[in-house]
Symmetry: C2
Subunit: 175 residues, 2 copies
Amino acid sequence: MQRTNFSSQLAACSIARTLDVIGEPWSPLILRDVWVGLRRFDQIQADLGISRKVLTERLTYLVEEGIMERLPYDQRPRYEYHLTQKGTELVDLLMVMTAWGDRWLAGEAGPPVLYRHHACGEISHVDLRCAHCGEPMHAGDVDALAGPGAAGPESAGRESAEAEPAGAEPADQLA
Amino acid sequence: MQRTNFSSQLAACSIARTLDVIGEPWSPLILRDVWVGLRRFDQIQADLGISRKVLTERLTYLVEEGIMERLPYDQRPRYEYHLTQKGTELVDLLMVMTAWGDRWLAGEAGPPVLYRHHACGEISHVDLRCAHCGEPMHAGDVDALAGPGAAGPESAGRESAEAEPAGAEPADQLA
DNA sequence: CTTCCGGAGTTCCTTCAAGAAACTCTGTCG
DNA sequence: CGACAGAGTTTCTTGAAGGAACTCCGGAAG
């Protein structure tokens, strides 16, 4: 799996940049474990069954990236991993994965875990809304335009939108 | 990278199940390309710079999983990939990645691509809300409980659960 | 009719990351 | 002083990703 750093994409795509932080195998599950309270090396290792070497690498990287902090919890050399603000906000991603997985992949037994929303007390899941107007915001509800950090000079045009199968295919670039 | 199928987790975790579908390297970027209108093999390959072999594998798998469809667009053996409903809903994940990446990783140039929300016409990004009450729903706004599809018999209570660093940390389990 | 071409993959070889399991290091406790 | 436990290292093997060349198919060109 030789260096999958998406380098070509890093410049122009927030998705690729995000994947560069938590896109490696196991990273999202490590994030989940720490989120739910499994904060110590051996706990996470036992829970996931991940190789210790890989777990070390991932934790080190996540700390470097500011997703987690490594904090001593004892006089002895013992450490716990805690989510930073940056990491906590990344949990949004996990909640969306959960919602999608529950909807499309849940076994006949139903979802394995339920979330109760503090605000309303109901078992619920997340839904995506526009931060501006509060209306639903999903794949079909947006147009993409080149932003300030867009790639090359020629990238000024449009983005997803059109995209006719047969006709004049724009084949834009990405985000 | 020998078989990272998260099998131990698949039974009990929608996050792991979702990762099993789009967690492999490149898959989210392929999804993005198809979403924005790059639907043909060579287009995607050129855009991502991915190995043709890996692209073949990923596309085949995504089609098998019902994320995309492979449709002929010519009398000749030419095909395009289109998102299914299942795949389109997965784009939510990309939109959340974009939002997080824009917030935490955007270069000094600003975000590379902007999204205009049809409903309000504003440049915006997604926000997570409770599907029930519409209030914000983020990492700290939920309690997790074991659902019907929870793991083993002993998993009735919590899962990872205990594991308080020091005090009585709730540290619920996962999804 | 034969040749050319372009999209869509295959094949093959190399390299490097994930798995597995044993080993190390460091304080504390009995 | 020896056992212990948490938190990693080390070492070796396997297999997935890269890369580049090769194949296959049907229409277009000559």
